[in-house]
């Protein structure tokens, strides 16, 4: 069977499974729709959290990013797992004890203020939509490369599937489809990683193969990689390029941001008890760690393989995957020294960040570019980092069914995260804005109907983002984490651990963190991107890491202003006492 046929088969089967689950788990009440009736087993919730959390970015982009960043890529590995320790120890059990439906719900009640609730809804919607745009791009890439349909068609099919189980099943439908999606995505990630680990190091466990010697040689993989990257003009693979303070701040922003992401927090509202919420965070991290400890191994294998298979090859005999991805527009080759061979080394091959293809072909059959070659270096190859995971099985020449499996896994990762995000958006609109603020008298049936309508509208908007991706998708990811760290984390943490915090302090903190972080990122990413280099940054902290400073500002403002204004009412003290007790 051809790879394409196999891909249709795998993707079709997985979609049929998701729809089947959605029909079986239809939501009957708002309790079902928002928090799956609070009856999800902690292991199932752990899997669902893992699928919810691991997005198209984790599955498709992260290993590629690390392959090119080397040790600097560790910020994503530590940042996106370490947040779960904070979540488990500082937030999840208490928010579960609070026992309501959404994150703005907690903020609104703890700070006895509908203004605080509205600020929270605003941050939540912004963070979640930022995220969804990335998922839809992932769906588009998988569809266009493996199923050879237009990105538009791909996005519409993806939307239809999510629509079906999110609108019908709510949190209940999403939870059980996410369990299935986790199984699909982790299997799809591990199989090629194990294959490649065996091929390169003879060890079936990628986490160990990563630190082993290469097959038929006594050289360690990482030593060889250090040597090769150095020869090509890069920094050694296992050395940092970024400054320690920047790495520190980015890791912190990602960790605290993770702990403050509403679509992750709300997953812990679905388990039966406080003890289950704690356990569930542990299971979630095991399931996540399975992928996150494999990813850096995949990165090292991919970087090595990539260099081996294209360096000094003549273009006419270059591997097929190289030309396939060139056709999609994610690889480009410009023969600077006119010798017909591919030379890969450090530096941007082209002027401008992305290749612009002309209609013409060069004398070796390559796609010609309108960009001028960048003559500062001898690198001739542009490679989009997003393709590494998808191309890896092809680069390592694995069988067709493995390639098809990876496509189904990428879709599972993108769809599960998109669904989780859509749910928090729709519940914050129907529950926090309508029921709790503007239409307090609506019945539960009507609230459920509004929840479904807002989910449907949110899917529509997400689809538009997928078909017409805003040019700044990659840039705004820093936004999502930075903002979550600078707004939600301090408000939630202090809400539980510091009784004296009143509404004035909390609101000032959230707004202060929000404005500082947003201004810094907007300035360097959109207004003055040419100044976005270390010498202009505040204390050499990049926009990716600035959320951690925003968070400190939030803490300082919140505590200072609280101590200058009057105490919160007695009910709030009682409420905090209540959530601090486990049963």
């Amino acid at each position: 069977m051809s790879v394409q046929l196999l891909t249709y088969l795998f993707v079709g089967l997985s979609f049929a499974l998701y729809i089947g689950i959605a029909i079986w788990s239809k939501a009957q009440s708002t309790n079902d729709f928002y928090v799956a009736g609070k009856g999800v087993h902690p292991v199932a919730n752990g899997m669902a959290t893992a699928a919810d959390w691991m997005s198209a970015a984790s599955f498709l982009s992260m290993a590629g990013l690390i392959a090119f960043l080397g040790k600097d890529g560790s910020v994503y590995l530590m940042g996106w797992t370490g947040g779960y320790v904070l979540l488990a120890l500082l937030l999840a059990p208490y928010l579960r004890k609070f026992g309501k439906f959404t994150v703005p719900d907690f903020i609104g009640e703890r700070y006895y203020s509908s203004f605080a609730r509205k600020v929270a809804v605003l941050c939540l919607i912004f963070i979640s939509f930022t995220y969804i745009a990335g998922q839809m791009r992932g769906v588009g890439i998988v569809f266009s490369r493996f199923l050879e349909v237009d990105i538009e068609t791909g996005v519409i099919v993806g939307m239809a599937i999510v629509f079906f189980y999110a609108v019908l099943g709510g949190m209940k439908g999403i939870t059980y489809t996410q369990v299935a999606q986790y199984c699909v995505l982790i299997f799809a990630y591990l199989v090629p990683a194990i294959f490649i680990s065996i091929l390169m190091t003879g060890n079936a466990i990628p986490q160990i193969g990563f630190g082993s010697t290469l097959v038929d040689s006594s050289t360690f993989l990482l030593d060889k990689l250090d040597q090769v990257t150095l020869e090509l003009g890069f920094t050694e693979y296992t050395k940092n390029v970024k400054s320690n303070i920047d790495i520190f701040c980015i890791t912190a922003a990602l960790m605290f941001g993770t702990a403050g992401l509403p679509h992750v927090i709300v997953r812990f509202f679905t388990v039966p008890s406080v003890g289950d919420a704690r356990k569930s965070a542990g299971y979630a991290l095991i399931f996540i760690a399975l992928l996150y400890t494999t990813a850096p191994a995949v990165s090292a294998f991919a970087r090595m393989n990539l260099i081996d298979s294209i360096q000094d090859q003549s273009y006419s005999t270059a591997p097929k995957w190289f030309k396939n991805w060139e056709e999609i527009g994610l690889i480009a080759w410009q023969d600077k020294n006119d010798d017909g061979a591919i030379r890969y080394s450090s530096g941007n091959a082209l002027e401008g960040t992305k290749p612009k293809y002309s209609e013409n072909r060069g004398k070796h059959g390559e796609r010609l570019l309108e960009n001028n070659p960048n003559q500062d270096n001898s690198n001739e190859v542009y490679i989009d980092r997003d393709i590494i995971v998808l191309a890896n099985p092809e680069i390592a020449q694995l069988p067709g069914w493995v390639i098809a499996l990876v496509a189904a896994g990428g879709l599972a990762a993108a769809l599960s995260t998109a669904a989780g995000l859509l749910l928090v958006i729709s519940s914050s609109i129907s529950h926090d804005l309508l029921k709790k603020t503007y239409m307090p008298h609506i019945t539960e049936r009507l609230e459920l109907k509004y929840a479904r309508i807002s989910a449907a509208i949110a899917i529509g908007i997400a689809g538009v983002f997928g078909i017409y991706p805003p040019a700044f998708v990659a840039q705004v990811v820093a936004f999502a984490f930075g903002l979550a760290a600078a707004t939600f984390f301090p408000a939630l943490f202090l809400g539980i651990f510091y009784k004296r915090l009143n509404k004035e302090g909390a609101i000032a903190g959230m707004l202060g963190g929000l404005i500082f972080t947003a201004t810094y990122i907007i300035y360097f990413k959109f207004i003055n991107p040419s100044l976005n280099v270390e010498e202009y940054w505040l204390m050499s902290i990049s926009p990716e890491g600035i959320g951690s400073i925003g968070m400190l500002i939030n803490f300082v403002l919140a505590i200072t202003i609280s101590s200058l204004t009057k105490q919160p009412p007695k009910e709030v003290y009682d409420m905090v006492d209540m959530i601090r007790k486990p049963s």
Binding site: V85, T238, T251, G275, G282, L285
Partner: protein
């Protein structure tokens, strides 16, 4: 009753603080600040600082959460037994 709640909360804070110190040490400490120093030590093909940054810290995070679950379960049990013996 209030006294017991306070005791429970203080034990909770102690557990959480100790675990978070370890959390900070393995990631921000071994993985970032002292990473270059630890890189002088090699285990198999891994430099130790690099291993903590890309593997070790994640394994320890998982262990920390389960230690927390275990200690809190023990604490919950102790408190509920004390409450029972009051009645």
């Amino acid at each position: 009753m209030d006294k017991r709640n306070k005791e429970y909360w203080n034990s909770n804070l102690k557990i959480v603080s100790v675990l978070l110190i370890i959390w900070f040490l393995v990631s921000f400490g071994f993985g970032i600040l002292f990473s270059d120093f630890l890189d002088q030590i090699k285990i198999g093909g891994f430099k130790l600082g690099f291993w903590f940054a890309q593997q070790g810290s994640i394994y320890i995070f998982v262990i920390l959460i389960f230690v927390y679950v275990y200690l809190m379960q023990k604490l919950d049990k102790k408190i509920s037994q004390e409450e029972d013996s009051d009645q």
